[in-house]
Structure formats: structure tokens, C-alpha cells
């Protein structure tokens, strides 16, 4: 077991767009210790989205290593990556990405369906889903469908869903990008609580007010880490 929740070493990512090769990441080294809360910032085209996709095991790097919970993710095949995403990563998206035809509880259950080995969903699993719904403040709304919820409530469902398999890291992609400032405050408070309980959170954002809430900030520029710490403006 490594000392870090996640670790990227010399990560490269090239895209081939016809004749043109796009160097999205050109040697990124970042360590994410347990209990970290990082905000990754940078303008569009800086490579932060590419980095997030690699951290989320949605894509494989062209070069370098990505160690997640002791596993080298960069060499895994598609099925193994699916299992890694399921077990080790909790996703929170900007546009919530709930499944429209499912209720709140069923949405929280979705990652349980894809657990490696596909064990059946037990009553204890259901209890956990209900507990998580309460934890993010959704009590009494577990039978609602996404269209019956406000944006903030939908994001709470997404957070509960991200937690259901007790992941190694939580990846949040602009988690408050679609929310007003009051709801933004509520969601950030939940993330801070989770971090205080020891969860590792990696968040991509371009808003200083949000980035400020993280323990540390990383600035990306032209596919490399341009700086650490909080740079106002």
C-alpha cells in the first residue's frame, strides 16, 4: 500500500487529430496524500480536463504512471478500468448526470449494480443508500425522480452516489458550476465535511471562491503544472 491515495508520475497524453498531434499533458507529477482536498485550476486548454479523465480512469495515458490505491492504472484494460472506476472513484459532475427514469434511491444504487463480481444488492446495501441520502440532506425525498428536485438537491444525490462504494478518491468536475451562490455554499459545506471525515477529494474548478475552500490549489497551464498554492486572480 502506497502512502498516497493517488499519485501521477510523468503523465503524458497525446491526442491524434488527423495529422496533428495535440500534446494535452506533457509530464505531470502530482501526489495526492490521504485526506487531501485539491482544487485543480487553469484556463480552458490547460489540460485540466484531460488530467481529470485520466484520474477518473476513463482514459489511458500515452506515457507515465498513474498509481491509484497501490494499483498501476495506466496499464489496465477496459474491463479492469471499469472495475477501478466502480471501486475506487466517486464521480461528481457539473450537470449532476442522474438517470432520469430512476428515483433518488435507485440513482444512489446504480454503482452497486456494477460492483466487481456483480454481487446481488442486499438489504444492508439499501440501508446504506438510505443512510447516505440522509447524510447529504435528502431525507423524505428518496422516492422523488430527478426532475422533481432542484439543482442543489440533484447534486446531493450525485454526492451520495459517489460515496456508495466507499471510494479511494472523489473526483468533482465543476461541482457547483450550475448552481447559485447559496446552493454552492451548501454543496461546498458537504464536500468540506466529507474531507474532514478523511475523504480524498480532487476538484476541478475555475472559480476562485470555490477553489479557496480546498486545502490546496494546483494551477495547470499548457499541459504542465504551472504552480501550487492559491493565486488570487
Amino acid at each position: 500500500m502506497s502512502d498516497y491515495a493517488a499519485q501521477v508520475i510523468g503523465l503524458h497524453k497525446h491526442y491524434y487529430l488527423g495529422e496533428v498531434v495535440v500534446h494535452a499533458l506533457q509530464g505531470v507529477d502530482i501526489d495526492f496524500p490521504y485526506g487531501d482536498f485539491v482544487a485543480i485550476m487553469g484556463s480552458s486548454g490547460s489540460g485540466k480536463s484531460t488530467l481529470l479523465n485520466l484520474l477518473g480512469a476513463l482514459d489511458r495515458s500515452t506515457g507515465g504512471q498513474y498509481i491509484l490505491g497501490g494499483y498501476d492504472v495506466s496499464t489496465m484494460d477496459d474491463n479492469a478500468l471499469s472495475d477501478i472506476r466502480n471501486k475506487m472513484i466517486g464521480f461528481i459532475f457539473q450537470s449532476y448526470n442522474l438517470i432520469a427514469q430512476y428515483t433518488v434511491l435507485e440513482n444512489i444504487e446504480v454503482p452497486l449494480h456494477y460492483r466487481p463480481g456483480r454481487p446481488p444488492i442486499e438489504n444492508s446495501d439499501r440501508d446504506r443508500c438510505a443512510y447516505l441520502a440522509n447524510l447529504v440532506g435528502l431525507e423524505g425525498r428518496t422516492d422523488h425522480r430527478p426532475f422533481q428536485l432542484s439543482g442543489g438537491q440533484q447534486q446531493r444525490v450525485a454526492i451520495a452516489r459517489a460515496l456508495v462504494n466507499d471510494p479511494q478518491i472523489i473526483l468533482a468536475d465543476e461541482p457547483t458550476g450550475n448552481l447559485d451562490s447559496k446552493t454552492e455554499e451548501e454543496i461546498m459545506a458537504i464536500l468540506e465535511d466529507l474531507n474532514a471525515q478523511g475523504r480524498t477529494i480532487i476538484m476541478v474548478t475555475h472559480e476562485n471562491s470555490v477553489a479557496k475552500r480546498a486545502k490546496r490549489q494546483i494551477y495547470m497551464k499548457d499541459g504542465v503544472v504551472a504552480g501550487h498554492g492559491f493565486f488570487p486572480g
Binding site: L58, N79, S82, K87, F93, N97, A100, Q101, V110
Partner: protein, 447 residues
């Protein structure tokens, strides 16, 4: 348990677009329904044809007199206007049980068209000279009185049995039993009235369609004595004369397996006795039955294929909708992949949705298919209502319809349902694979 859950989730997704799912299903519903209905109608038609053949008797061999073609007849009967042809009483002797093995009975018939008259009431009828065995070989059922007896035959009694329509026309509101009426120039006493009987349709060109309802049955010997062999018909500006000893001989065989060999013996016997005269024909119901069964197989195949095509069209409809659904739910696919779904899970999910769609459509189609006989009856009623056919010209057509009852066989239900599920799988695989192959990142970015 897991499969149950998968199906449950599939139903949930399908319910998201109720109208779309229902319309997609409709293609399969009608496909399955038409497969079942077509096979049921085919089965009914075959049953009807087989029944008609069996009505002639599976153990029977029928030998008929045939009027030679005009050209030949003028040549052979030069100078004489009397046309002599057909089966002879000598043939009957040669075909009797003591001449040919396995033959149990040889029943002769002679038919003459005659005017029937009871006081002022008149009709055209068919006078049939026969023996008492005729009743059994032709499945003739009596409603009142008795059929002709051996006593009637040997004593050449002037008695007759009349068909239902004859009784109604000549004796309306009267009991015809033991009353006499005029046939041609002679009088006969009614000893029995036959039950009404459906006409038989023409079978394979060998037997003409025949209505039994204008028949008057008299003992063959009585006919021979009273009418002789000659029959002279005078029409308006036409005149025909012919001499026929027997019109038909029905030969009964002891067992069905001996029918075909015995038929060969009979053919050879008649060929020898009639030299090269082609004034007779042989009908073997067993042969017709075999033919009917063979035709049935082809018939079913053609009907079934036509119906199956509509199922395939339904399947294409499903595939079309599923491809649209995959595009529409690209985002959902991306989310599921991000949450840990393997390609296989996505394939499974969309395939299940397609199969559930096709399966429910199949069940509804099967239920509709089971109602085919009812629906058919309704159509028959409607045809009867809109085109009340009273003319005898339509009778054959009418008969064709009324006699046909679709028969839904259980295996056709299973087959049609199985095909519908199969179509769901075949036409579901492509959209499901397309969904699974989506790049998770692209799918997540999809608007």
C-alpha cells in the same frame, strides 16, 4: 434474481416513453398475430379439405362414368344419335368382392336429372338409383323414416327417400312420409327424409362439387326397370340422348392400407374391360388426402413466410427505435460507464430492453392470435351482412367461407412467441453493441 432485476430496470426505461414503446411494440404484435392467424387459417383450410375427402370415405374407391369428348363420340357412334358410354353392369360384376381381394362391397349408382312434381309444385331434382349400402358409404343421415332396404331393391319397389330441400319444396307444411309424388312420368312413395347436408366443393379437379339437397333416392333395380338405360333430354332447340348403365361404383376396401394397391387392380380391370375407351375415371380419396396434406405443407410455408416478413418488419422498427434511444441516452451510457459499468453491462441493458419490448409484443400478439377464430367469425358475419348471397351461383363461394374454421394449434403460439423474442435479440444486438462501444468520455460530453 439478477435477471429479474435487469428486466425490471428495462421496463422502467421503456416506461419513460410509453407511447413510443407501445408503437414500437405494435409492429411485433401484428407480426406475431399474423403468423398465428395465417397458420390457423391454413390449418382450418386443410382440415376442411381433409374432411371433405374423408366424407368420401378413406376406405372407398370411386369409379365414375365420364362422357367422352364430343369429337370422339361422334366418331364412335356414327349414324346413331344415342351416345353409349360409361360403366357397365359387367364392370360391377368384375369389381365385386368375390372377384377382387380386400374389396368388401361394390355399390353402384345411377343418376338421372328429372322433374319432380307434387300436384302444382315442381322442381328440378336428381334421381339417384342406388342400393341400401349407399347410406353408409355416403354418410347420409336420416331425419325421418328409413333408408331403402334390400327388400325394396330386390322387389323393385316404387319407393324413395328424399333430401331435405325436396321435402320442403314439394311438401311445404306437410308431412311427406308415405305420400306419393311424381318423378318424370312415374310415381314413388316417400319412405324416408334425409337430413340437410352441406354441399361438397370440387376436389382437385377429380370430383365436381355436388349439392345433395335435390336428391331423390330410389332402388337401382326399380330405376333400371322403369327408366331403362337410355336418357333422352329435350331442351329448347337442343336434344341429347345417351345410354349409361351406371354412373358410379363406390368400392369399399377392408383396410386403409389396402386402398392404394386395390385401386391399381381396379384400374387394370377397367382398362382391360373398356379397351382404349376413356369413358371412366377413378377417384381414390386416400390419394387425394395425401395430396391435400402435401399441398397443406406448401400452403402453410407460404402463409407463414408472408407473416414472418411482417415480423421482420416489426423487428426493423424496433432496431430503428433502439438506435434512436441509444443516441438519446448517450449521456446515461457515459454516466453508467463512469460508475463502473463494463461494455458488457451496457450491451446487456439495451439488449434486455429490446427483448422485453419484443417479448411483451409477442405475448399481446399471442393473445390476439388465440382470438383468431372469433375474429374470423366476425368477418364472416360481416361478409354475410354486406353481400347477402341468395343466388346459387354464390353458393360455392359461400360454402368456401362458412365451412372454414381457423384452428389455432398450441405449437404455433409457442413458435410465434419464440420468433418474436428471437427477433428482439437479432435486432437488438446491433444497437446494444453500438451503445457499449461508445467512448465514455465522449458519451459524458454528449449534450
Amino acid at each position: 434474481m439478477r435477471i429479474f432485476r435487469t428486466i425490471q430496470l428495462a421496463v422502467k426505461s421503456l416506461l419513460l416513453h410509453k407511447l413510443r414503446s407501445a408503437l414500437t411494440m405494435l409492429g411485433i404484435v401484428f407480426g406475431v398475430f399474423s403468423v398465428i392467424a395465417m397458420l390457423a387459417i391454413g390449418e382450418g383450410a386443410s382440415r376442411k379439405a381433409q374432411d371433405q375427402v374423408l366424407e368420401l370415405g378413406a376406405k372407398n374407391i370411386i369409379v365414375k362414368s365420364v362422357k367422352p369428348s364430343q369429337q370422339k363420340s361422334t366418331a364412335s357412334s356414327s349414324g346413331s344419335f344415342m351416345l353409349r358410354y360409361g360403366l357397365l353392369r359387367d364392370d360391377l360384376r368384375l369389381l365385386s368382392p368375390d372377384q377382387i381381394p380386400h374389396v368388401t362391397n361394390a355399390i353402384p349408382i345411377r343418376e338421372v336429372d328429372q322433374a319432380l312434381r307434387n300436384r302444382h309444385r315442381e322442381m328440378e331434382g336428381k334421381l339417384i338409383g342406388c342400393s341400401p349400402e349407399y347410406q353408409e358409404t355416403n354418410n347420409l343421415k336420416m331425419s325421418r323414416g328409413r333408408f331403402l332396404s334390400h327388400h325394396d331393391l330386390f322387389q323393385m319397389q316404387p319407393v324413395c327417400v328424399i333430401a331435405a330441400e325436396v321435402a320442403e319444396t314439394l311438401f311445404p307444411g306437410e308431412d311427406p312420409l308415405h305420400k306419393s309424388f311424381q318423378v318424370g312420368t312415374d310415381f314413388y312413395e316417400v319412405v324416408g327424409i334425409a337430413k340437410p347436408r352441406g354441399a361438397t366443393a370440387a376436389i382437385g379437379g377429380s370430383l365436381a362439387g355436388r349439392s345433395y339437397n335435390k336428391d331423390v333416392y330410389i332402388p337401382l333395380r326399380t330405376m333400371q326397370v322403369r327408366l331403362g338405360d337410355d336418357n333422352i333430354q329435350r331442351g329448347q332447340g337442343s336434344f341429347s340422348a345417351e345410354s349409361v348403365q351406371l354412373h358410379q361404383i363406390t368400392i369399399q376396401v377392408d383396410d386403409e392400407k389396402n386402398v392404394l394397391p386395390t385401386a391399381e387392380v381396379i384400374k387394370e380391370t377397367l382398362l382391360r374391360n373398356h379397351k382404349d375407351e376413356s369413358d371412366w375415371d377413378i377417384v381414390v380419396p386416400m390419394e387425394l388426402l395425401e395430396q391435400a396434406k402435401q399441398i397443406q405443407v406448401i400452403f402453410n410455408l407460404v402463409l407463414g413466410s408472408i407473416a414472418a416478413i411482417s415480423l421482420v418488419v416489426g423487428g426493423i422498427g424496433i432496431m430503428n427505435i433502439m438506435l434512436a434511444t441509444v443516441t438519446e441516452r448517450t449521456r446515461e451510457i457515459g454516466v453508467r460507464r463512469a460508475l463502473g459499468a463494463r461494455q458488457r453491462d451496457i450491451t446487456e441493458q439495451f439488449l434486455t430492453e429490446t427483448v422485453v419490448l419484443a417479448g411483451i409484443g409477442g405475448i399481446v400478439g399471442v393473445i390476439l392470435g388465440m382470438l383468431t377464430p372469433l375474429a374470423f367469425e366476425g368477418i364472416q358475419l360481416m361478409i354475410g351482412f354486406f353481400s347477402p348471397s341468395t343466388g346459387s351461383a354464390d353458393q360455392a363461394f359461400d360454402n368456401l367461407f362458412t365451412g372454414l374454421v381457423p384452428i389455432v394449434k398450441t405449437w404455433t403460439l409457442g413458435l410465434a412467441f419464440g420468433i418474436s423474442v428471437g427477433i428482439g435479440i437479432v435486432f437488438g444486438v446491433y444497437p446494444a453493441r453500438a451503445a457499449a462501444r461508445l467512448d465514455p468520455i465522449e458519451a459524458l460530453r454528449h449534450e
